[in-house]
């Protein structure tokens, strides 16, 4: 297999885009990624797009065909990939394989979701389709409830506190305030989180990622020609994906995502790296508890130590291992299909030294971690720059 690099990256601001539709956002992100790479659309051989629920959110399926058209890329093949909130990373993984296999050379990969045009209850029901529709959602278990069960159990097993959960949101808002693409650019305090409205105990509103519109894109190329483009290439050194049961009730543990553990183990093995080698990490913090479980399952901290590590600032900029410098899903926002690609964009910027006020010093190895639903899919990518 050939080595694969990201040669261009771009994204729309994440937020509530009342004046911009699904199609406009993808075109904006795609053009930014192409411009960043310094190439024109006629150099593109194929594309992948991650989007979770365009059918229910905007009545439109067949997103690959739609975007080949709106990006002006006909007649090249563009394919939609879906894996709930991991859709973006799954698209990246298909793009990676398309280039690694030699099937295609220059591949555009995007992620997009347009979510704010519908009411919160409708969107919550649609997002519930990422879990077990028949055995969870139908019975009332929306995602805040599912992650609240994990949080309660984590608190019971490891002594994790609500303040530790809150510290994740505080840190991610602090990072997001430094990111001009973030939905929320204001800092918050632990007290703000603790006093925010309860959604599903122990999770409060500020423990939850928001509903967001946005799109992001990257351009991939074989490593052997990647140096010839405008920006420093960022190599994708590994792409790993794993699955777990769709419903929480079938799992042996509520405090760990086995799909994350398997994907991470495979990714480290393929890359010949350990968690200690990582300089910067983007993880899937759809809820604050999700980030605590992620930094444990990825091996950044011992099981049960994710909460204390977060409270102690070990995952903040300047800490032991900076996590979610973009602001994460919590503060940068979570347009579900776009999130995995936004993570790749953020890691690209960090490894190129272009992350402005949130730059991690001397960052050369990065990791992104993207979860579908409550963990039935997890995807880990590891990236490297010289």
């Amino acid at each position: 297999m050939r080595k694969v690099a990201i040669i261009g990256a771009g994204m729309t601001p994440f937020g509530e885009h009342w004046g911009q539709g699904f199609r406009d956002m993808v075109v904006e992100a795609g053009v930014k990624a192409l411009t960043d790479a310094g190439i024109s659309g006629d150099k593109i051989d194929a594309g992948y797009i991650g989007t979770m629920a365009s059918g229910r959110l905007i009545g439109q399926e067949h997103i690959g065909g739609l975007l080949a058209d709106y990006m002006g890329l006909n007649p090249i093949p563009i394919t939609r990939v879906e894996g709930a909130c991991a859709s973006g990373s799954l698209a990246l993984r298909q793009g990676f394989m398309a280039v690694a296999s030699g099937m295609h050379d220059i591949v555009v990969v995007g992620g997009v979701e347009k979510m704010t045009d519908l009411g919160i209850n409708t969107v919550s029901d649609i997002l519930g389709g990422a879990g077990d529709q028949e055995w969870e959602l139908f019975l009332g278990a929306t995602f805040p409830a599912i992650y609240a069960l994990m949080a309660r159990r984590h608190m019971y097993e490891f002594g994790t506190t609500e303040e530790m959960l809150a510290s994740v949101a505080v840190k991610n808002h602090k990072h997001g305030a430094k990111n001009k693409y973030a939905q929320f650019r204001k800092e918050i305090t632990i007290e703000d989180v603790m006093k925010s409205k309860e959604v599903s105990a122990p999770l409060k509103m500020l423990d939850c990622s928001p509903i967001t519109d946005g799109a992001a894109g990257v351009i991939l190329a074989p490593m052997e020609i990647a140096e010839s483009f405008a920006k420093k290439p960022v190599e994708i050194i590994t792409s790993a994906q794993a699955s777990d049961t769709i419903a929480l009730h079938s799992r042996k543990s509520l405090t760990s995502l086995n799909a994350t553990k398997v994907a991470a183990k495979n990714a480290y093995k393929m890359a010949g790296l350990t968690p200690k080698d990582l300089d910067v990490v983007e993880v899937h913090d759809c809820f604050t508890i999700a980030e605590i479980m992620a930094i444990e399952d990825l091996g950044l901290f011992e099981k049960g130590q994710g909460g204390p590590a977060s409270l102690a600032g070990k995952t903040a900029l300047g800490g032991q291992i900076p996590v979610n410098t973009s602001g994460g899903l919590k503060a940068c926002g979570h347009p579900v299909g776009a999130t995995g690609i936004k993570q790749a964009v953020e890691i690209s910027w960090q490894l190129r030294g272009e992350a402005e006020g949130r730059q991690v010093k001397d960052a050369h190895i990065g990791l992104s971690h993207n979860v579908g639903g409550s963990g039935a899919t997890a995807v880990v990518h590891i990236y490297k720059s010289d």
Copy 2:
């Protein structure tokens, strides 16, 4: 890239399955494909599943994670791919790349759709999401109307008649009557078609493919180990995909699908073959006019000669080139995400000499052609057996 073969194939009967859900159907098709290959699930390294609209049809997204669970395949990666009615072939194409690249060895690829639980108007609206939601469906252009425009223009340009259209349905019902998996196993006459209720002139009810439940699956392996399994391997010698505008109004021609022409041209080139080399073909006959355009765009007949060729029986079993021996979408049924995989299953059976009463004699080279929407995506695969 490695050579890739189909080593197992299976499907559920297509039809109205009131007693069988989405999950049950996929498991049935998957287990049949595994059994056919003579292997157990623990040999599978990865999977792909094509489904168009599970979100709107059954409230469930994240189909990859769901099926890893229900197929008992955790923790291997399974990914959903969507491209409207071409979803199945797009999943096959991703599986092909995964094996060809060396990323995975044994890969299961499925397609599924559960459509009959909702009313026809709702399903028609959902299927409209395969076209341009904003510029076609929103204004009332459902799929029968879109294909009726193509039919009218084809009649105007080439003198194609309603009887010629009807002859496609008659031939596909004749084939479907010989297929125990087909939704409609009764023969019809040209008069039956002509007298059936008008849907969107000149298309009548019997010019249209039905609403269907069903699933199909194939098992892929590298060609170098394919001989070691239970059945004669069927090599996938090429996989080509192309795009066109999502809306009909942006195209230069209404009587040809450019995505089909580009995909076919690339497929023949990669395979080093011409249309004359084909022994058996499955094409995308969502409407009778679609089959006539397909056999022209694939180069089986001159442009404008698809209608007369169909009426003359040249595409029937025993004719010049048998098309849609399964019964096609028209008689075998069209569970949209499953159709592309059903085509691969039928071609596999034909090239293995297992197509029972509808077997094409000495069939060694086959082609499948799957279209998304009104042609914004087209996928062509060519297959070979010794």
